[in-house]
Each structure stands twice: as structure tokens, then as C-alpha cells.
Amino acid sequence: GEEVAQTPKHLVRGEGQKAKLYCAPIKGHSYVFWYQQVLKNEFKFLISFQNENVFDETGMPKERFSAKCLPNSPCSLEIQATKLEDSAVYFCASSPGTDGSPLHFGNGTRLTVT
């Protein structure tokens, strides 16, 4: 598609439950990025993929967070045993390369942990 599609738009989970977010990048884009935005503050980089391979995971919390980009499937970001501080908007972005091409963002998934 021509847009980065993120689902669901909103997700509510009780503390300790699992949350799974999905992202379909723009067709033809090889790179996928996940960012976390807490309370309308700065975007925190989590992880990036080049096709199905992890490209940079320096922002991923060591525990509870995992992500995948499998062929012919939307990319996913999974949070095991959610905590209150995981409440945020999670944005996915894609780009065709790493030559300065801009990232194209989806509209985000708002995760609320209660």
C-alpha cells in the first residue's frame, strides 16, 4: 500500500497482560522502524528491521519487548506482561533505504495499560 498501516488504533490491556501491535509498511520499503512516544514527548527509537532481519535493536528494552518482520506478514511488536509505564503511542515507520530517505510514519497505536 501507499501508507504505513498500523493496527489496532487503540489497545487497552490490564497490567500483566500481553499486547501485540501490527504494522504493514509501504510496499517496496525495505526498512521498518518502531518508535515509542510517551505523553506527547520525544519519540524513543525501539528497533529497526531490514526486511526480516533486525537492523538496529539498541532501543529495545531487554525484557518483555520483542518484534518481528516476517515475509508476507505485517511486522509486529509484542509486549509481554505489560506495565503501567508501557502506556504510550507506538509508531511504526518505513523507508526504502538508508541514504537519507525520509521515514514514512503510520498513525500509531495508542496502548493504555490499566
Partner: protein, 111 residues
């Protein structure tokens, strides 16, 4: 360690006048700088970028200036329009990889 800083949380400008949004950075290895606009409940939308080897890039009403010696860039919007009211994020990339974002500046264009 905040590598990209937008020191003005908000800016108010009259319609038709120039809006100037500023951004400072600390890492001299950044190779691209980008500006994004964000409306509520939407993702950031790319506006304009500049390579670290340039000092100016222009696209319609939007011009980005880069001063490498001062580690400073600015976005000029002229003339400003009410539809430009949004949050503007400055971002920088290292070797074309992930973007490092500033905290954003809320621009209000008054008609």
C-alpha cells in the same frame, strides 16, 4: 543525553508572516536532518530534509537552513497559513539509520 534539542516549546505567528523554528544538535556525525509536522492523533508527516553537506534546501514555502559550525538548523515557513498549525519535530539521522527526534515545537498560526 539529548542529542537534538528544540528549545522553544511553542511559537505563535500571524497568518502571512514568517515562522522560524529552531533546532540544535550535539552530534557532529549526523548526516541528514529532517523536519516533520504532526497533527493530533496522526503520525508525523515528512516536510523537508537537508544533507549535512548542504547549507540550504527549499521546497515551496518551506526552507531549511543548516549551520554546521553552530550545530544549528532552522525551518522557515513563509507565508505562514492557519493550516500550518501543528507540532513540528526536528530529527537527525546517523548514516541514514534511525532518526533522533527533538521534543517538538507547537506552532500556532493566527488568522
Amino acid at each position: 543525553d539529548q542529542q537534538v534539542k528544540q528549545n522553544s516549546p511553542s511559537l505563535s505567528v500571524q497568518e502571512g508572516r514568517i515562522s522560524i523554528l529552531n533546532c540544535d544538535y550535539t552530534n557532529s556525525m549526523f548526516d541528514y536532518f529532517l523536519w516533520y509536522k504532526k497533527y493530533p492523533a496522526e503520525g508525523p508527516t515528512f516536510l523537508i530534509s537537508i544533507s549535512s553537506i548542504k547549507d540550504k534546501n527549499e521546497d515551496g514555502r518551506f526552507t531549511v537552513f543548516l549551520n554546521k559550525s553552530a550545530k544549528h538548523l532552522s525551518l522557515h515557513i513563509v507565508p505562514s497559513q492557519p493550516g500550518d498549525s501543528a507540532v513540528y519535530f526536528c530529527a537527525a539521522s546517523l548514516r541514514g539509520n534511525k532518526l533522533v527526534f527533538g521534543a517538538g515545537t507547537i506552532l500556532r498560526v493566527k488568522s
